[in-house]
């Protein structure tokens, strides 16, 4: 027995030790990851973010260096009070903020770096850098911020913002404090622009000092610089369009029909993209985000869905021709409207009876109600006719997302049989129930970019390229989806009469006053009724002003859709703006300053205030135009003079 005491003790100790080793090394240990190893410092090297140029090679977005103070909470040594005071003074924070920030970082992760004070100024950085060594657990991370070379195109260019934890969870490439494209092309071309960050693994000692590259740097990677991109935007046209949209709300989309390139993409109200750079970004962004009345972050050119109104009539004309239910010369009479059953769709005074040409340039509701009925009633049931009509409309890119390279978008709405089956019950509805579709009201909704694309498809006589914003990627090609044409369901031969009709809108129709010398413009005015809920009551407000156009008539160079909220009839604001934009783009200068002055001079802000006024107000005919004050006008004129001519 006495012999066994030490023997058994030794064996027992051996077993206990092996069990302990198993517990420490296997049971209690997740797989080794160099990223979790606090003996290895990970130094990220952020590549240059790609620059953004406009279609004429003008630099729009460049970079500026920025310095973040980062913290790894676990490595922070408690500071004595004089060090703490100095550190807080250097960072321009209070000691309470210091404690709060440190707590927040620890909550996120004690061992991963979190931004402590982001985006120091160059001066603060210079002072701090000297003393950084003293404050264990903190270091400075260099990044690059955007530097906008322009004050326009906030909705086009977008901005970059710090990633949030939701993004990190989904895309582990990003670490806390990294920047990511938040809106506009920064968002859609994020991976192209950002490049790939490089990483260096550095062996530390326990005093947190670097002692050299880990394994001679075999795991280190070099940063891959982001690629420069050229976007299809014409900065001069964009700037001009933004000026026209001043003091108004709405959207302008201009597209080059033979390529689908977006020339301008205006949303009013806009803001200066420089507001979303650096330390002031989050405050400014919050302000823009919380402005629920004018919604500056809402891209009206891409996201606002309106009933398209009269411009939509051109599609019904095309479908009627394609379906062979009407000839161009067949006339329909109009007695100030179209009667069906005991109801009537009103119209205005014009030549009657109208053939297709007159129907289009006079925008005759009765004409289009007649041909719409024929389109639907050609088939045995309204449902069949409806689906066929819907298919034609959708071939123009309406009623669905365009699937392009813009950060935001809306599908709009094109009804089909199912829509009405749902509303009225299966087969319990007739063509007349849907008659508003004839004139672009009713169940149809479209965004300005869809209308511009529709104009491009008409201008091209039957096809379009998906509207897109990328023109060129450094060392890469533009995706083929943007270079293959998409054909509509309408044969080419049917377009001429409709184009002629749209041309006559300028010659003798609703846009007669908007003619531009030497340019053959085809267009169509539109007016969309506008309702809002005020104090739980559906209240009518001044109509939206709509205009869709392309020019020149043959081989068009620009197709445009303009939408001005509460702008009243189509030619008042939208039509003028479209003409000015077309002239500015094609000629580089404005031959009719009176027209330009009208647009620049008058504000619609008072219209937008109406729903918030306590007293009653008038709409449409009862509204008056309110000019802006001289100082603002001078300011606009000065900005205008700063836009380069060509």
């Amino acid at each position: 027995m006495r012999k066994l005491l030490l023997l058994t003790t030794v064996v027992l100790v051996g077993l206990v030790f092996i069990a302990r080793l198993f517990y420490l090394q296997v049971y209690n240990n997740s797989a080794y990851s160099i990223f979790e190893d606090n003996a290895i410092r990970k130094v990220y090297n952020y590549p240059k973010r790609g620059y953004v140029y406009d279609r004429n090679g003008k630099l729009l977005v460049a970079n500026q260096p920025s310095y973040d103070v980062m913290v790894i909470p676990r490595e922070v040594e408690p500071m004595d009070s004089s060090d703490l005071t100095e550190f807080c003074r250097l960072l321009k924070i209070t000691e309470e903020e210091y404690t709060k920030k440190l707590k927040r970082a620890t909550r996120y992760s004690p061992r991963l770096p979190s931004p402590f004070v982001p985006q120091l100024s160059k001066k603060d950085y210079a002072v701090l850098q000297e003393k950084m060594r003293k404050f264990e657990g903190f270091y400075i991370q260099k990044r690059s911020l955007r530097s906008y070379q322009t004050t326009i195109g906030a909705n086009v260019l977008g901005d970059i913002a710090e990633v949030n934890r939701r993004i990190i969870a989904k895309q582990p490439y990003y670490k806390l404090g990294d920047l990511i494209g938040n809106q506009g092309v920064e968002k859609t071309y994020e991976t192209t622009l950002r490049g790939v960050k490089g990483i260096k693994f550095i062996q530390k000692d326990r005093f947190n000092k670097n002692i050299g590259p880990y394994k001679d740097g075999i795991y280190d990677t070099l940063p891959k610089p982001g690629k420069n991109i050229t976007i299809t935007i014409d900065a001069r046209l964009q700037a001009y369009g933004e000026l026209l949209m001043r003091n108004k709300r709405g959207g302008i989309i201009a597209i080059e029909p033979n390529s689908g390139e977006i020339l301008a993409m205006i949303s009013g109200p806009s803001y200066n993209p420089n507001l979303l750079v650096g330390r002031e970004r989050s405050g400014n962004f919050k302000k823009l985000y919380n402005d629920s009345i004018s919604k500056p972050l809402f891209d009206r050119g891409l996201q606002a869905m309106y009933p398209p109104g009269s411009p939509f009539k051109t599609l019904n004309a095309l479908i009627a021709l394609q379906e062979g239910v009407v000839t161009t010369e067949e006339r329909f009479s109009c007695a100030m409207g179209y009667k069906y059953g005991n109801r009537k769709m009103g119209c205005h005074a014009h030549k009657s009876p109208a053939n297709m040409n007159i129907g289009i340039y006079e925008s005759c509701n009765a004409y289009f109600a007649n041909i719409y009925r024929r389109i639907i009633d050609k088939y045995e049931s309204p449902a069949e006719g409806m689906d066929n009509w819907s298919k034609h409309i959708k071939s123009f890119g309406l009623g669905n997302y365009l699937n392009n390279d813009l950060a935001v978008g809306q599908p709009g709405k094109v009804p089909n049989a199912a829509t009405y089956n749902k509303g009225y019950g299966k087969n319990k509805w007739y063509t007349t129930f849907t008659i508003s579709n004839a004139i672009g009201q009713g169940e149809v909704l479209a965004t300005p970019i869809q209308l511009a694309n529709m104009a491009a498809a008409i201008g091209n006589r039957g096809y379009y390229y998906t509207p897109h914003i990328i023109k060129n990627i450094e060392g890469d090609t533009v995706p083929s989806q943007y270079t293959t044409p998409k054909y509509t369901t309408i044969d080419k031969k049917h377009f001429e009469p409709v184009v002629q009709g749209m041309f006559d809108v300028y010659n003798k129709g609703t846009a007669k006053s908007l003619q531009i010398k030497d340019i053959e413009i085809c267009g169509k005015t539109g007016t969309a009724e506008n309702y809002a809920i005020i104090d739980n009551v559906k209240t009518q407000l001044t109509d939206h002003s709509i205009f869709v156009a392309f020019a020149p008539k043959d081989n068009p160079k620009i197709a445009i859709a303009v939408f001005v909220e509460n702008g009243y009839y189509g030619s008042r604001f939208a039509g003028r703006m479209a003409s000015l934009m077309i002239e500015r783009y094609l000629k580089g200068e404005i031959s009719r300053p009176d027209m330009e002055n009208f647009v620049l001079r008058y504000s619609l802000e008072h219209e937008y205030e109406k729903p918030y006024l306590v007293k009653s107000f008038g709409i449409n005919k009862q509204t008056k135009l309110v000019p802006i004050d001289d100082q603002e006008f001078q300011n606009i004129m000065k900005l205008k003079s700063e836009i380069p001519k060509s």
Binding site: L5, V10, V11, R20, L21, Q25, D205, Y214
Partner: protein, 426 residues
């Protein structure tokens, strides 16, 4: 003649192989734990690993030297060797050199020698010599006191030189005495006292006393010897209570703060988070770093010279007392288990050989050797993986240091020599 010679030198090759494995694996880990940057030359004497390689080389000279003596020499000269060792320890008070607050070294030029490392084998020889004397009877109090005096003399000298860790090593001779006939009651008392001490520290005197009372009552009713009086039991209880008080007083007033904190960490006595935070930076720092290094090794480890914590020198004293954390980090669970098994096998082998000795001197000495390896291995490895409070003693054949390496080599090879001679004994 030649055949007779061969028979006379029948060394236990298993022990020697285990020794060679330990010493080489130890060297590799010291190389890893002590190298800074590129290794230009393995013999670079300005580097710790270079020095250690020289120590290892000299070890073999030392082995030849030890084996060349007659086996009987060690028995005959045991007392003299012991006296020389004690004098060397005493001499430290006059000529010693202070390192880290401990006066444990002689400085000879740039070399330092730590006599306490050599006192261990000397004490083992002396104990063997005394216990194996025909006149000695371990059952008698007189002889018990004498052997205790033999181990206490160096132990106290070492304690006075501020090397508490090495003092604890001498407790291991209890295993030797027990093997050689010490009464069972000592084992019971020793285990009871350890239990009471832990209870008193962890839960307080009251709980310790309550547990003692409970155990004693149980024993009283199960007693075989019906003559034992209640008074005896009450006396024992009183001693237990007195002892628990003594332990608390010792812990609170005699121990230095860092020693208190080590025990406090081990028994998890400290509840104040601020103080714990402070301890993490001080007493627990090495331990935390060492545990993290071991943990990060996983199943297979990061590979020789690839340990990020070892390379980054995260574990202080890693090449000496904390060398096992290098094994853990770079060789993983398999490597660490291998080292544990090497030590267990070595100790079990020595115990086996000791039991087969014909001479009592050899057996007692063998037991001494096994006990000394056992306590070093248990305390050092246990401490590095956080099972035992921090006690600074080296891991045999692994920890850096010439004195330690040679002390353990002499300890082991005197036994190898004694064992090789057992054929000649009858």
């Amino acid at each position: 003649m030649l055949r007779e010679n061969q028979r006379r030198f029948k060394f236990d090759w298993l022990t020697i192989i285990l020794f060679l494995l330990l010493i080489s694996f130890g060297y590799l880990n010291i190389l890893s734990a002590s190298h800074v940057g590129e290794i230009t030359s393995y013999f670079d004497p300005t580097q710790l690993y270079g020095k250690h390689l020289i120590f290892v080389g000299l070890t073999f000279v030392l082995i030849v030297f030890i084996l060349s003596f007659e086996a009987k020499f060690y028995e005959r000269f045991a007392s003299i060797i012991y006296i020389v060792a004690i004098l060397a320890l005493v001499g430290l008070f006059l000529f010693g050199k202070d390192v880290n607050g401990a006066r444990s070294w002689y400085g000879i030029g740039s070399m330092t020698i730590q006599p306490s490392e050599f006192a261990k084998f000397a004490t083992a020889l002396a104990v063997a010599k005394y216990v194996s004397d025909l006149e000695t009877n371990m059952q008698t109090l007189k002889d018990q006191l004498r052997v205790v005096a033999i181990i206490l003399t160096p132990a106290i000298l070492i304690l006075l030189q501020n090397d508490a860790g090495s003092t604890i090593v001498y407790l291991t001779f209890f295993f030797v005495f027990y093997r050689e006939g010490l009464q069972q009651i000592y084992l019971v008392v020793a285990l009871s006292l350890i239990a009471i001490a832990v209870l008193a520290l962890k839960f307080g005197v009251l709980i310790a006393a309550a547990v003692a009372l409970l155990v004693l009552i149980t024993r009283y009713f199960l007693r075989k010897n019906k003559r034992a009086s209640v008074l005896q039991y009450i006396l024992v209880l009183a001693v237990c209570i007195g002892f628990s008080y003594g332990v608390r007083l010792f812990y609170e007033h005699v121990l230095k703060e860092h020693q208190q904190n080590r025990i406090s960490l081990w028994l998890r006595l400290e509840k104040d988070p601020a103080k714990l935070e402070l301890m993490k930076k001080r007493e627990a720092y090495n331990l935390i770093q060492s545990e993290q290094a071991i943990s990060s090794g996983g199943w297979t480890g990061k590979g020789f010279l690839q340990g990020t914590r070892t390379t980054g020198k995260f574990v202080p004293e890693q090449h000496t007392d904390y060398i096992f954390s290098t094994v853990g980090e770079e060789w993983g669970f398999w490597g660490s288990t291998f080292v544990v098994l090497l030590f267990v096998t070595l100790i079990v082998r020595i115990l086996y050989l000791a039991e087969t000795q014909k001479s009592q001197f050899s057996r007692v000495y063998g037991y001494g050797v096994a006990s000394i390896f056992f306590i070093h291995f248990t305390i050092n490895t246990g401490m590095v993986m956080g099972l035992i409070p921090t006690v600074g003693i080296p891991l045999p054949f692994f920890s850096y240091g010439g004195s330690g390496l040679w002390g353990f080599t002499i300890l082991l090879f005197i036994f190898v020599k004694l064992d090789s001679n057992k054929i000649n004994e009858w």
